[in-house]
Structure formats: structure tokens, C-alpha cells
Symmetry: C3
């Protein structure tokens, strides 16, 4: 597969802003590793030095750039990362291909409702009684689907995923390998000195276009539903406890924990290694920076950091004053001494 | 399945404290979502506004409440959450059912000791040579049991769990999906500039009534045993390193890490995202709040927070003084200025 | 299996420094649990009290020790932990054994390139089309290998590991249970209010002698390669995002997160629960203590702590001054009062 310069310009709706020597391209590479046959892009100012020194055949650049590397064609586009994605779709040779059919080494219960001509179920996958699978869905190797699970259309369940009994996936849901949907919530009552398990009889619902990362765990509700809202994307190794409800189009980044019954609004971003306490609410479009620990309700449309979470400016002021503390201690000591000497 | 008001009162040992219109019930719901056919409960004061506005047919309430929602029956009970659990057991229609037998798509080595009429082994499960499985135990789909593993009675191993060679589970142990028991401890010696693996030849022992969360990892001992004590409950995504020993009836909440050879006493609580350093001891009934980082031995029967861990009062005093720092900096500057002006 | 005192001295290149009563040994135990038939070692000064009270038959000790427990033989060695490892190799009775052959309940695609006499593939394992497996490699139960994966010689893939399509493992790579290699990177572009998935068409490369912990996730590159350098050891529950590159012989401890496109030099240590932000560089031999949060490039050969990461001495000074803050607040108040009274 090859793309000409003209094809790249058309594909990206771009504008030629600097000429170079190459005219056809078959590779994809970072600015640092690219050679004359490769397409690359400048998507982050941290790579500006790499950009000026690149050997890429063609580079997709944002409009603010006015220097160009010698030898490379430069094409101006609105969003270099997105435009590069369009090239990737054309050039990437090694892509996953959907092949319908049930592998002989899969095991599917007799009463599972699905169209074997339109669903892919791979070796080692297990689908238990009473489940339903929509057309265009791919169940990869060693996936375990419990009883009565409902899976929509065009979902991808990667290898070794577990979806426990009665949980529901709407359409175009993607589950990265080894994530767990519907584990029991962590609930116990202390009875005669022993932690006694509280039955967890609810389910998990993953709405349309949700994606869940590798080795993430989403607990079923104690009763009712744990809900991940439409279009929300959850990264790897995230903990979502029982009865959590996230709004639509949230981003929940790696290693974050959402405690039991917390509620996120729409378009909330929770960056990596953050935590949201149980039973609290986070408003629409709130942004929690990395490691933020939210212990009380947080209003929407604001950016928070720290533990306990504070608006970013407030927390930064606190951190700045802390940096001045050693000097303050020294000056205070001197002042006391000079007053004593004077007195 | 339906329950009458009289049945609910008897089941929960409750007392009718406010009358309502409905007299039989078949559903379970939160205060906010409940309708006239549903049972609900007030288990957390955060939901008090939802309680007063609920449409639930019947609500289980604690004795301290003296207002009641119009239209709902209110029943006073000692512990509303626990009492609600008793109703859940009766009403939940979709519950897991134990079915004995070895699925034809499971693979069990010839010499495994178990009673096929009293054990459930599902499709895709693998049990290797020399293992033993007690009566009433359930091994779900795609579980991997290594060589020489000993599993007690009435255990539940959910799908895709791994128990590596020679590890031991006592009775009524529950393993949530995709947790790992008996991975190698993280141990290396630097030899000629290379990290050389230290053999990890010990095992993991999970005592009676232990529960382990989804995607949690518990490393085998270097030699000897990593032990999770009787009745201890470990949440999702927890790291338990080699040679850790926890006491009985501990609670280890999500995303916490217990480093190598640390020891917890009995009834220790470690809240979410906390960490306990290697080779230290935490006393009986100690409580580590979320994100606490314990770097030195901690005495029992106290509550800790912060990193390094401090008694809660001490740490809160530090945080409170930090909040006053910006004002102090300002006042100190003014004081110096006024002294200079005066001088 | 038994070892005599002479055999132990020879095996460890040790020197007899204190005589005892036992002369042959068949067990391995910690100082606290050992009896007269056991070998033990003093590897950490925290166990010095246990050492003096031990009932071990023989103890391996470092040269700095000049007290010896009564009744035990003491043998001085350069590195007691390493020397003990040599004894473990001899005495541990329950060790994993490599058995070549493809289990009938495994499923391997017809075109997979491997020597069935020199590779072990266990029940429930799935190897998809186009993959290659080197001699001496062990693929355990319920492992999922995607299409076109390349695996070198003498690797061990423990149960329920997932290696997604086209990823590459060099020689002697060890994957602990349920880790995921090659999950999609977390990349989205916001288009018309929806997070639209950015194709992740790169791979993961694990170089020679890499070990990856249980339930760790390593994302494939957006394009190009996510690389874990030769000899690097990654612990359990670690997140490695797309396009991360680690140098050789790094240690990445449990529950740490490495964000997208960050680069670690050689011999970098990142302790538990730390985080490294996206697109930054950490120099050779840098050490990040537990929970460190690195947000900017960090120079090599230094030790860092805190969030944001600072050189250890600087951060400790800040923490020390914070501890003096409550007293400062009090003294400042007194000073102001005394000046007012005087004025």
C-alpha cells in the first residue's frame, strides 16, 4: 500500500505549506524515527526539536507552525493527530479482521440467541445459557460470558474478558483483554465478629460506545444497576465499585478508583490514579487532575487537584506558600532574635 | 415472588412505625428509583432528602428517624442495610444456582481428587495433576488450577481465576473473576549488572471465609507461605506481595498495596489506595484511611492517615495549619514592614 | 533431598563462623519458623531479634554480624539472600517442571511455527494464525496468543496471559498470570461531542529477560512500538501506556503507572504506586521512591520523591519545615500580641 502526496492532501483536507523531495509514502513513524518513505505529524510541542530535525518524507503540522524541516514535505491541517489517524487507517497493513463463525473449540450453550453467520466466537470462549449476542460482535479467545448476559451489535470482547451473569452491553462496546464486568460489590455486615457477605444481586450496564480498559474491574450493583454512560471511555486498571453511575462521554484514566454509589455527570474527566469517594456527586464537565482525591460533592465545569480535592488555583496557592515556608521559618527566627537583642 | 407487609416485618424483626397504602411487594430499589411495589431502605444519611421524597411501597428505617415519607410504609429495624439484605435473599429472582458436574469442555487431570457429583466444574476450566477439590465447590469457566492445588469445601472460583501450583484454599473461599493466587514474588539479586530472578518456591494460603476481589494479585512466598487470615476480605485490584501475613477478619479495600513480608494483625482495616511498606507490622484493629502510606510499624486500635502515616488527629492538625499558611506569610510581611517603618 | 553442612559451605562459598548441633538439613524456613532441620538466613536487620532467638539448624549471615544464636550453625557469606537462593534451588522439592508437548485440549492454528517436541502448550491455551514460538517455551492453561505474535526461546507464559496480535517477545521473557500485552492505547479525539477512537496499530516489544507481573497491562503503540528494554522487571498491577519506552535493567514496582510516550533510561527504579507523566524523560539510574509523581523530565543518577517529584533532600526539607508549622503559627501569634502589648 502506497499513498501519493496528492492522496494525503485530499485525505486530510490539508494545505501544502513546504515542499520536499519525496512523493509517495508507505510508512508511519514518529518524527524521530521516520525516514523518507514515512508519514509523521507534529502533535505536541514537546517534540518541536524532533520536528525540526526529522527525516520524515511528509509531516502533518498545525497552522501555528512557521518553520519547516529541510527535505520534508509539510502539510498544514486543523488537527495533526486526527489527520494522521486518517492516514493510519489507509496505510496500516496489520489490522484486525472480523471473521464470522463459531470456532469448534468455543462452547456456546444451546439456547444462546445469536446469528452464527454474523457473530465471531473464537477458540476457548464460553457463552452460558440464556445469553444474547448482537450481529457484528466479536467474542475472542478464552472470554467467559455468564448466564443471561445481553450483548448488543458490533461489540468487541477481547481475549480473557469476563462478563458475569445478567449484565448488559449495548452496541459498539469494546472490552480490552482481561477486564471484568459484574464482579460482586465489596459489601459486608459485621455479625458476631465476622464480616458477613451482603448479596450483590444487581447488574452492570455498559451503554452504547463505552470502552473499558485491560484488567479494569466493574462491580455489579448491590441491587439495581452500576451504569457506565454512553460514550464513556475507561482506561486500564480502573476500579468501579457497586452502584456507581457515570454520565455520558466521561474519561476515566488509568488506575483511578470510583467508590461505591458515587455519581459522575456528563463529560467528566478523571485523570490517572485519582479517587472519588463513595456516595458523592461530581458535576458535568468537572476535570479532576491526576491523583486528585474527591471526598465531597464537586461542582461541575471546574478543574480540581489535591487531596482533598480543591479548585486548581486554590491548591496551587497552597503549594506555592508551602515552598516559601523554609525561608519564613528562618526569617521569623532572625526577627525574634533581633527583637530580643533590641529589647 | 411476592412478600406481604407481615412477612417483611417478621423477616426483619421490625416494628411498623408509619402506615402506607401498599400491602404486598415484589421489587427492590433505591429510595430515588423505587415505586409502590418496591422495598427500599435508608442506610446512609446522605440519602435523607431522597428518603423524604421516596415513592417506595415500604422503607426500612433506623430508630433515630422521626419523619416519614407520605404514602410509604415505614418499618423500624436495628440495621436497615442488613435487614434489607434479608429481603434481597427472598426477592432477588436472578440468583446464581449451584449445579454439580464436570462440563465436557472442562479439562481435569486423571488424578485430581474430587467427587464429581458434588463439585461444579464449568466449560474451559483446567485442573492440573495432583489437585484436590472439596464438596460443594464451584470452578467457573476458563479458571486455571495448577498442579497440587488444595481447595476446600463450598468455595466459589469465578471465571478466569488463576490459582498457581501448590497453593491452598480452605473452606468457603470466594475468588472474584480474574484474580491471581500464587504469582511469583518480585525478587531479584543484581549479579554482574543484571537483575537475576530469586526462586519463589513458597505458596499462598487463603484461610476459611476469605474473599479476594477481581483482578487482585497475591504473590506466593519466596519460601514458606503468604497467608490471608480467616474471614479477611480483599477488594479488587489489590497487590499482596510475597510473604505478607494478614490476621483474621481484616478489610483490605481496592487498589491498596501490601509490600513484601508486611504483617497485619486481626481486624485491621486498610482503606482504598493505601500502601503498607515491606517488613513492617500493623497492630490489631488499626484503621488506615484511604491513601495512607505506612512506612513504619503502627500500633493497633488507632486510626491513621497521610504519608507517612500519622494518627488522624495529628495529621489533621498539620493539614489545618497548612491552610493557615498563606495568611501567615502575608501577616509576617506586614509585621516586618511595620517594624521597619517604626524602627 | 538432604544437604550436609559441608555441601552448604561449598555451595555458598561460605565460612563456618559458629558451630551448632545439626549436621544435615532438608528444609527452608524464616528465622522465626525454622527448626533444627532447616536452613535460614539473616537478610534484613529488621529480623535481628528473630535471628538471635532462631532455632534454625544453620543460618547464613553477613560478615558484619558478631553475635550468634546458641545451637545454630552460622555460616558467613557475602550476600545471605543470594546464597540462600542457591540452597533453595537444591532443596525445594515442589518446583515447576517443563514438559514438552501440545495438550489435546489446547488449540493451535495450523500455520503456527514451532517444534512440538520442544514447546509446552497446556490445556485451554489458544495460539492464533501466523504466530511463532521458540524452543523451550511454556504456554500455560487458558493463555490467549493473538495472530502473528512472535515468541522467543525459553519464555514462560503463565495461565490466562493475553498477548494480542503482532506483539513480540524476545528470549527468556516471563509473563505472570493474567497480564495483558498489547491492549489498545487510550487515545481518542473529540469529534462532534463524542470521543472517537484513534486506531492503535503499533505493537509491544518485550526484549530479552523481561519479566511482567500478574494483572499488569502494557498497551500497544499507537503506531511503532511500546518497548520494555532488556532485563527490565515489571511488578504486578502496573500500567504501561502506549508508546512508552523503558531502558535496560529497570525495576518498575507494583501499581505504578507510566503514561503515554514517557521514556525511562537504563537502570531506572520506579518504586510502588508511583506515576510518570506522558511525554517526559527520566535519566539513567534515577530512583523514584514510592508514590513519586514525575511531571517533568528528571535527570539521571538522583533519587526523587514527592509530587511533583523533587530530589529527596529538598523534599525532606519541605516536609520537615511543614512539621514545624504549628509551632510557628503559635509563636507568631504570641509575638504579635507581645508587640501590641508593648506598643
Amino acid at each position: 500500500m502506497q499513498l501519493t502526496l496528492e492522496e494525503i492532501i485530499e485525505l486530510t483536507s490539508g494545505k501544502l505549506v513546504s515542499e520536499g523531495s519525496a512523493s509517495s509514502f508507505n510508512g508511519l513513524a514518529s518524527l524521530k524515527e521516520a525516514c523518507a518513505a514515512d508519514v509523521s505529524f507534529l502533535g505536541n510541542e514537546k517534540y518541536y526539536a524532533d520536528y525540526l530535525a526529522t527525516n520524515a518524507g511528509v509531516v502533518l503540522v498545525p497552522s501555528i507552525v512557521d518553520e519547516f524541516p529541510g527535505g520534508s514535505v509539510a502539510i498544514e491541517v486543523d488537527n495533526p493527530s486526527f489527520a494522521f489517524g486518517l492516514i493510519v487507517k489507509k496505510l496500516a497493513s496489520k489490522q484486525r479482521v472480523f471473521k464470522a463463525g463459531v470456532h469448534p473449540a468455543a462452547w456456546v450453550a444451546d439456547d444462546v440467541v445469536f446469528n452464527a453467520d454474523k457473530v465471531s466466537i473464537k477458540a476457548g470462549a464460553v457463552v452460558e445459557s440464556g445469553s444474547r449476542i448482537g450481529d457484528g460482535t466479536e467474542i475472542n479467545s478464552n472470554v467467559s460470558i455468564g448466564e443471561g448476559v445481553v450483548i448488543g451489535e458490533e461489540c468487541v470482547l477481547h481475549s480473557n474478558v469476563v462478563v458475569r451473569e445478567f449484565c448488559e452491553l449495548e452496541d459498539r462496546v469494546i472490552l480490552q483483554p482481561s477486564c471484568v464486568i459484574g464482579s460482586d460489590g465489596y459489601g459486608y455486615e459485621l455479625v458476631d465478629g465476622r464480616h458477613t457477605k451482603v448479596d450483590q444481586v444487581g447488574i452492570v450496564v455498559l451503554q452504547n460506545d463505552v470502552e473499558i480498559g485491560a484488567n479494569t474491574a466493574i462491580d455489579r450493583a448491590r441491587f439495581g444497576r452500576t451504569i457506565i454512560g454512553e460514550g464513556t471511555k475507561v482506561d486500564n486498571l480502573v476500579q468501579v465499585a457497586h452502584n456507581v453511575v457515570t454520565g455520558k462521554h466521561c474519561l476515566i484514566v488509568a488506575q483511578t478508583g470510583l467508590a461505591g454509589s458515587c455519581e459522575l455527570g456528563n463529560y467528566v474527566t478523571v485523570a490517572a490514579q485519582a479517587g472519588v469517594a463513595g456516595h458523592i456527586k461530581v458535576g458535568d464537565q468537572a476535570v479532576l487532575l491526576g491523583r486528585t482525591g474527591a471526598a465531597k460533592n464537586l461542582a461541575g465545569a471546574q478543574m480540581y487537584m489535591g487531596m482533598p480535592a480543591r479548585p486548581v488555583k486554590e491548591e496551587q496557592k497552597k503549594l506555592a506558600s508551602l515552598a516559601r515556608l523554609p525561608k519564613l521559618l528562618k526569617e521569623f527566627k532572625e526577627l525574634k532574635k533581633s527583637l530580643n537583642d533590641a529589647g
